[in-house]
Symmetry: D2
Subunit: 338 residues, 4 copies
């Protein structure tokens, strides 16, 4: 069964709305951030990483966002252009707002934490006037990153895009992408996550993210009940992630599909999610069966946590396929499908 | 047909969420505000006026709002108590925010304008923490005044109340109550009005207010199409007002009922709407036919525009009935039902 | 001895910098503000009242300030024009800031309190760009009202005016005019009051205001020591007020002159200070002996507290003289000079 | 002649007030910041660098400032402690404010630019309550960095420290340290620089910085006139810097002393100023002749621009002496005194 219809006449496979930032990852890692002395600079921000991931896999992406009007703004738009991502709707800030920075502390293979610079931040300056109905109509789907909902005016920009997606019959993918930094309260998350989830065709989130989304509706809904609730609204596919336990996609026809992580030698404890999302969505755009989308996502996630960055290391389709093949040869066909 | 079910076991007929303010109306009117020298002080704010109106008609109301921590805050809560309105969920501001003030310029019977003091305003400090599920569960219905959506944190307080009303199966009445002052952009109105309208059981608004609400959905929907659109969501009754041309209630069973204004010697050009809303809702709570609700609302509106205030002059049921009777005797039974 | 030299070739006797606001005084007074129902509107704000006072006494004043762009802004500039005060440097706000409002609670002849509306207030939007060296050069003296120092950008506008007064050899009169509302901390008062006092030729303040001004210099300086301290800086005349105990002017040649209040049937407990300041300054501009300036100031103060407003009731020189004459006839020549 | 008296009974040679930040200098320099990929992290901020410089030279410093409550806050306080700088009056921010970051673009030996992160910045949260009279009394001198004046509440903290220094007879060193980023207008610089300069015993600034300081006093004062103006206030030594042309110290007894840069193979175009200031002040604290202070400062400046950082490369007294000796042997005794 095809859960979503993508209009082939449209110019872009996916238009993503949300943040582009910079990651500074320590070269001398496995120390505290206070102790690390040297850092490498990478493009970052979950929807930006997904855009890079999808482009490397051969899909055509556009991006709606705000960046700083300085060398770092140059850096990220140059990077996008090099990857073939359309930057015509990335707007420069005029009020001195800066690109978000994420300094990563990698203590060991599993434990990491981040120090974020997100005060008067460029990405959350996106505003309703930046949202262009004609551009949204050029995407076969619109991805809204939940972090864009954390503050005005970006919040209203994302909601306007949601309304215009509905008006132009553009499927909406909602990646909850919970980042506590800019949110004022838990209630606000519950309100805005639920408003967007209630209009989305695909919802991607962790168990914790679904709890935040459902807190004002029914705080006790577990996975199946949650999926059923959102299917009653507009969702066709609801993906609930449980970290290293794996993740499950619930479809509106009552089916469910589960995937587990592929084995890998980790370098760091983060970055897998964006690999997962981009490779999973790649499968959807290709019209694959849901379980194949999940497998591709899971493989890409493993490749990412084994590497130093979240964007620069995004694999090609060839690389993902070859990694899956190797794993299956080594561990058996069902290695991740468990 | 009964369009709404009110749970008789609940303590209050209606809980209203929104602003309480003070009106200063000139005693020496029919001049500019610069020229008028003497002013009378009245309780004001659309939902506050509706609460007073319903109380005078014998209904039990509760109120959710924020007021200033000063003598003016005393004034409005004292006034509410005297009218029998529950003030247990009216919270005092702690950051020096002041009660809204409206200075009215009454140039003649038809032309008036207002000068509003709404900077760092008490009512828009209402926040999500002020919203109490147990209190909402005590109301047979919840009225949300659209002005509460104009700014954070009041916006999120109103949206949380909306979620909790749904969770507690409390019918929602949405009074669009458009006041341009605190809104940042037209897009924001379109977004938030539409979110609440999409969840409301009763929607009350002028033609202009419906245009604002529908701008991101379909800017060309006229009355019938608009009513049909909201009926497809959750609305049972959609009331669209056309000023002195009268107003029409569209019900979810496809009927429509129209009322016209009663003749009156006007004093001022405003204040009718709150009389209309309170008397119309009174009829709904009494279980009347929609056309009788409208007639009662229209009569109360006429009484209000003939008097100096919007709250102090709210009529009793007796007074409305007697005024309708007089009009019908003088002008014929169909005077407003035309 | 002439303590100050005023350049007769300049166009205005005095240019005042600070707030213009509106007072709403209850017509039904001797009640709480919650209980009073009817209010009269008057021009208010200490420097505005002083400007009106001096104009009524026949002096030519100019004013530097910001007012709201609405009917209330019209009201105060119209009022100034009618009084002959130059309004060429009163600027309209563009960001929706409103004129300050003061609602007065008059409980009895002595006890009053005020409820101020000063959030996002017009007068404190005065900014450095509004300060015009050529205009300051047209005044024989510049009066800076201390309330203008309470917040940026008005604070920097006042300090720029202070620098330009020094540059253009314009004597500076500093009226401490302490109003707690907009100040963030006591330290800030100590800092900015002391900066301006250290450059002023005349300082007018109550004992409490001098304590605030000297808190970071020497919190224990009493009247004589305080006057001596400021004389070592730039001050020629230091006037320290002790309410109904009277007030004393200390001059830089080591003299001191004391005045007491004139007897009067009070209506209210405020408003005397602005009458005092305008009549005292009138005497200075006329070249009178300091004790005569004080007597004129004290008489005007008494007339003000016997009347309903602080601006509309400002007396002519004729009226002050006649009142002094009456008092002296009734109570003896030394009635106030004690 | 001894221009300043330092009280030997006090605990610290110098207490500095101002910012501590982090510099990220590219390892792969001589490229644009967009192109550089790898960065080294250093302690930064002019007064922080001067504190490190003085400590390396053997003087005991204390610091008044605000830092972020995160790993970067740990980094800078740990660094200070390691250098022997007292951190008892460095306060952690509680509102999520972050440490300032400076990303340096080193295009070649002369041309560099910086990209600053200074939105909701930790250092400018220093407030008047953080200023402790007892601590100021423990310093033989207080250095105020002009950047601390750029915004409230840090502005008032610096001004309060200035008042308390005067009250406790602590000499004040004013380093104008002009950084455009956080200033709202040129007028504000003119106002606050002049207020502090008017109370300072030593003023250090470039020609451009003196122009900014004097703009509201007399925009045309050249070096000699400027020095004379500040000597008439409170200044004993006025140092005016002209970049590679050298700098001149004007003393209150009418003398002047000029120094030129020492020859060096530059790595970058910045960092010299902080080396200069720390070594110059070292000489003052040692009681040296002014020309010897200048020579020591100039030599330290040259060493700094030849190295990769502004703090980590601060030389010991031994290293400065040895460098001066080498230069004199190579180029002649008068190499810088020219």
């Amino acid at each position: 069964m095809k859960y979503l219809q993508f209009d082939p006449s449209r110019k872009y496979d996916l238009i993503l709305l949300g943040r582009v930032t910079i990651d500074f990852n320590p070269v001398d890692y496995y120390k505290t951030l206070a102790e690390s002395t040297t850092y490498k600079k990478y493009l970052g921000g979950s929807p930006a990483n997904i855009a890079v991931g999808l482009s490397r896999l051969g899909k055509k992406c556009g991006f709606i966002g705000r960046v700083s009007d300085d060398r770092f703004g140059d850096y990220v738009t140059d990077y996008f252009k090099k990857e073939g991502i359309d930057t015509s709707h990335i707007v420069r800030c005029t009020g001195g707002e800066k690109l978000g920075l994420t300094f990563t502390e990698i203590l060991n293979e599993r434990d990491s934490s981040i120090l974020m610079y997100r005060n008067q931040i460029a990405d959350l300056q996106l505003n309703a006037d930046d949202i262009d109905e004609d551009y949204i109509k050029e995407g076969r789907a619109l991805l809204i990153s939940g972090t864009s909902l954390s503050e005005s005016p970006s919040r209203e920009a994302a909601l306007k895009a949601l309304f215009l997606a509905k008006k132009t019959k553009t499927p909406v993918i909602f990646d909850v992408d919970y980042r506590p930094y800019n949110w004022k309260s838990k209630d606000e998350m519950g309100i805005y996550y639920a408003i967007v989830a209630g209009q989305a065709d695909v919802i991607l989130g962790s168990r914790e993210e679904f709890d935040l989304t459902q807190q004002l509706i029914d705080p006790d809904m577990k996975d199946k009940a949650a999926a059923a609730y959102w299917h009653k609204h507009r969702a066709k596919i609801v993906v609930i992630k449980h970290g290293k336990e794996g993740s499950t996609a619930y479809t509106c026809d009552g089916q469910q599909f589960t995937i587990k992580p592929f084995p890998i030698k980790r370098l760091k404890g983060f970055g897998g999610g964006d690999g997962y999302a981009s490779a999973f969505l790649f499968g959807l755009f290709e019209g694959w069966d849901v379980i194949d989308c999940l497998e591709f996502g899971s493989a890409s996630a493993s490749l990412l946590i084994a590497s130093h960055s979240c964007s620069d290391s995004m694999p090609t389709a060839e690389a993902v396929r070859s990694y899956i093949k190797d794993c299956k040869e080594k561990y058996g066909e069902m290695i991740a499908r468990g």
